[in-house]
């Protein structure tokens, strides 16, 4: 499984591949434009959308301000309901906890509900290293897993694949993981879904351990909540004897009353549905039904560091709806893999550098992977001002003076000096205008511009000279 993001090239380099791949661009364009249009219709149905958006923002902000007490309340309620709470500071600790819990059961395989948190920490790879097979049961995650691929979208991890590619993946690899695909498998959606259903059913009925994430954790009752579309999640949450949920600490909300807001905004923003088909809630354990053991692993992994940044912390409001991906013109052309993280698109561009730091090439380049058009902020159901955070993070990257930024900083300082001395600026403009006949069509160092665009011809005189001549 090639799930690693280590050694990713910077965003512009990684994006070039997708920009020059017409199949990928067509797949992405079709998918994002379809869901974008549907979402707009679903959102327009609610007269109080702006109020719901504001409410969601405020609930999340209040929660983040009181995260310490809410998490303690959650731990008390989960424990009282028969669950066991584990605290994980980072990916390594979380993976160790989960691996040990699975090993204790004596099992060698687990079924998984689609979960960004476990993707973030690379849990499948950690389990594999311990000799435990982790089976993804979400259709798109299954496609990614069988294709030895990486997810490229938060909600639709296989968005970059078309039907023909999926058929080929199923036909060649399903047999290696369990029940093979039927010999006469076609690329019709119904045939593909049926092949996946039969393949997965064996795993659901055999599994003794299930692993999930959660969309929300309700502190007042210690209840976890998952919203999903396929029903595979419900199978994983009810059939196994042991259930392990790995959840980022920012997913807690105070009460069920708060949940009401997100149950309206999340499905409409993500799948453009009024309500998602399956909403599962679970609270500890019961004698009569469901798992006999329940473990909750609360994951930090850079979240408290993010919380400490007063501008950047708004990224923790994210409810992973992926509306920002679907409207982003950069994501649409660059594809999800270019972001080098399980969190692609605009939210990934602000979340990954905060969770992981900006030391690597990819993380230092992510804050610049945006034209700052603001479409992401406009659709965000919890009003994360992504452009504001991008610029804020650019400042941090530029301050550190990493690769390419030392020279840039010198240039910015020089430009700053000129712009603060209008006489120097005027002289420069005049020289540029006077020598315009001599200007080459391409300028050394400006090939990033002139590879695809012509430079404008400079005018005879700058505006300030016209003004001086004609109006003073």
């Amino acid at each position: 499984m090639s799930g690693t993001y280590l050694g990713m090239p910077s965003f512009p380099v990684a994006a070039r591949e997708a920009v020059n791949n017409p199949t990928l661009r067509a797949n992405l364009r079709h998918a994002t434009h379809t869901i974008r249009a549907k979402r707009a219709v679903a959102v327009a149905e609610l007269a109080d959308w702006a109020l719901l958006r504001e409410a969601g923002k405020q609930i999340k902000d209040r929660t983040l301000r009181h995260l310490d007490t809410l998490l303690v309340e959650l731990e008390e309620k989960v424990t009282a309901a028969g669950g066991v709470v584990h605290w994980a500071a980072d990916a390594e600790e979380a993976n160790r906890i989960v691996t040990e819990l699975v090993v204790e059961t004596g099992e060698r395989e687990v079924v998984k509900v689609k979960s960004m948190a476990t993707q973030e920490i690379g849990l499948n790879e950690a389990l594999e290293a311990a000799g435990i097979a982790a089976y993804e049961t979400d259709l798109a995650e299954l496609i990614v897993q069988l294709g030895e691929d990486r997810p490229s979208h938060i909600l639709v991890p296989a968005i970059h694949r078309n039907r023909g590619e999926i058929r080929d993946i199923f036909a060649t690899t399903m047999g290696e993981w369990g029940r093979p695909a039927p010999d006469d498998l076609t690329d019709s959606p119904a045939a593909l879904a049926e092949a996946a259903r039969l393949h997965l059913r064996e795993k659901f009925l055999r599994a003794k351990v299930g692993i999930s994430g959660a969309n929300f954790m309700v502190a007042e009752t210690g209840t976890l909540v998952v919203l999903e579309s396929e029903g595979n999640g419900r199978m994983c949450l009810t059939l196994p004897e042991t259930l392990i949920s790995v959840v980022g600490i920012e997913k807690v909300i105070p009460s069920w009353r708060d949940l009401e807001v997100f149950l309206q905004t999340l499905p409409r923003s993500s799948t453009a549905e009024r309500m998602n088909p399956y909403t599962s809630t679970w609270t500890g354990t019961t004698d009569s039904d469901g798992p006999k053991a329940f473990h909750l692993v609360l994951l930090d992994n850079g979240r408290t560091a993010t919380l400490a940044d007063e501008v950047g912390r708004q990224a923790l409001r994210c409810i992973r709806c992926s509306a920002c991906l679907n409207v982003c013109p950069v994501y649409e052309r660059a594809g999800g893999h270019a972001y080098g993280s399980v969190y692609p698109g605009p939210i990934g561009a602000i979340l990954s550098p905060q969770l992981r730091g900006t030391q690597s090439d990819i993380d230092a380049s992510l804050p610049y992977a945006s034209s700052l058009c603001g479409a992401c902020y406009e659709v965000c159901p919890v009003a994360i001002d992504i452009p504001e955070v991008l610029v804020h993070l650019r400042e941090q990257v530029a301050e550190k003076g990493g690769k390419g930024h030392r020279l840039e900083k010198t240039a910015m300082k020089a430009a700053g000096w000129i712009l603060n001395h209008p006489a120097a600026l005027t002289a420069g403009e005049r020289i540029a205008s006077k020598t315009r006949a001599l200007h080459p069509k391409t300028v050394p160092g400006a090939s990033a511009w002139t590879d695809s665009r012509d430079l404008p011809a400079l005018p005879e005189q700058p505006f300030r000279d016209w003004w001086k001549k004609n109006r003073t």
Partner: protein
């Protein structure tokens, strides 16, 4: 009413015709315009690239240069948005009380051209004449940060002889994005190529916008492709009259 023109650095050095058009247009509407020569740049390129500290002297300069004017008008949604949205942020982060004073006093007086025409002067028919087919690209900052809404359309629709054609995917970014055009040139060009393709599909002679930086990117693509369409700033269309038509 004392009105100052903030022409912007791009218009000053590269597109002076836009600044001249604004002056002629406003004078035609009876506004006495002044151009304080101490002005340079709002600092957007620096700020958006992550150089906030380098932006601070420019913020102070903007405050000083435009002190005492009732209104400051600029033919750039992007630069108006820089002042209105980002100056308060810069003031909040910086340690200098002067920055806060600039934010407090300049922000409420800064107008993008179409806002000034429609909201302050209360006109949509500016007496312009432009007998051509035009499609309008609403730049992102004007569209989302300033919320210009229908103002530019209303102004264009009132121009005599002008036929306005809807631009498919109008609200999608053209891909300029300041230093984004250089730092992520492949993605930027891909976005721009889709934009000019959509603009060409309208069959309009002119691709109009209210931000010359976006238009510089789009015109550069049109020029490279040898396309018949040309990019033109909204102000130049509005300044064009039957007596003095734009060539």
């Amino acid at each position: 009413m004392r009105v100052a023109l903030f022409v912007t650095c791009v218009n000053d050095a590269v597109y002076p015709s836009t600044g001249i058009a604004v002056v002629k247009l406003l004078e035609r509407l009876g506004v006495e315009v002044d151009f304080p020569p101490g002005q340079t740049c709002c600092g957007q390129p620096q700020f958006n690239t992550g150089y906030r500290r380098e932006t601070e002297p420019l913020v102070r300069r903007m405050g000083r240069v435009f002190e005492g004017y009732d209104h400051v008008v600029t033919p750039s949604g992007s630069c108006a948005a820089m002042v209105r949205d980002n100056y308060p942020r810069i003031a909040h982060k910086g340690s200098d009380p002067q920055l806060q004073q600039v934010a407090d006093t300049l922000v409420p007086r800064m107008y993008e051209l179409t806002e000034f025409l429609v909201d302050v002067l209360g006109v949509t028919d500016v007496g312009a004449y432009f007998p051509h087919t035009v499609t309008y690209h609403p730049s992102c900052h004007g569209l989302r940060m300033l919320g210009l809404g229908e103002r530019p359309r209303k102004l264009l629709e009132a121009v005599k002889g002008l036929e306005l054609r809807d631009l498919p995917g109008a609200e999608e970014c053209c891909g300029f994005g300041g230093t984004f055009a250089m730092k992520n040139s492949d993605v930027s060009a891909a976005m721009g190529e889709d934009k000019v393709r959509n603009a060409a599909s309208t069959g309009a002679e002119v691709l109009c916008g209210a931000d010359n930086s976006c238009l510089m990117h789009l015109d550069g693509l049109l020029h490279r492709q040898g396309a018949p369409q040309r990019a033109l700033h909204l102000a130049e269309i509005l300044a064009s009259t039957e007596e003095e038509p734009l060539g």
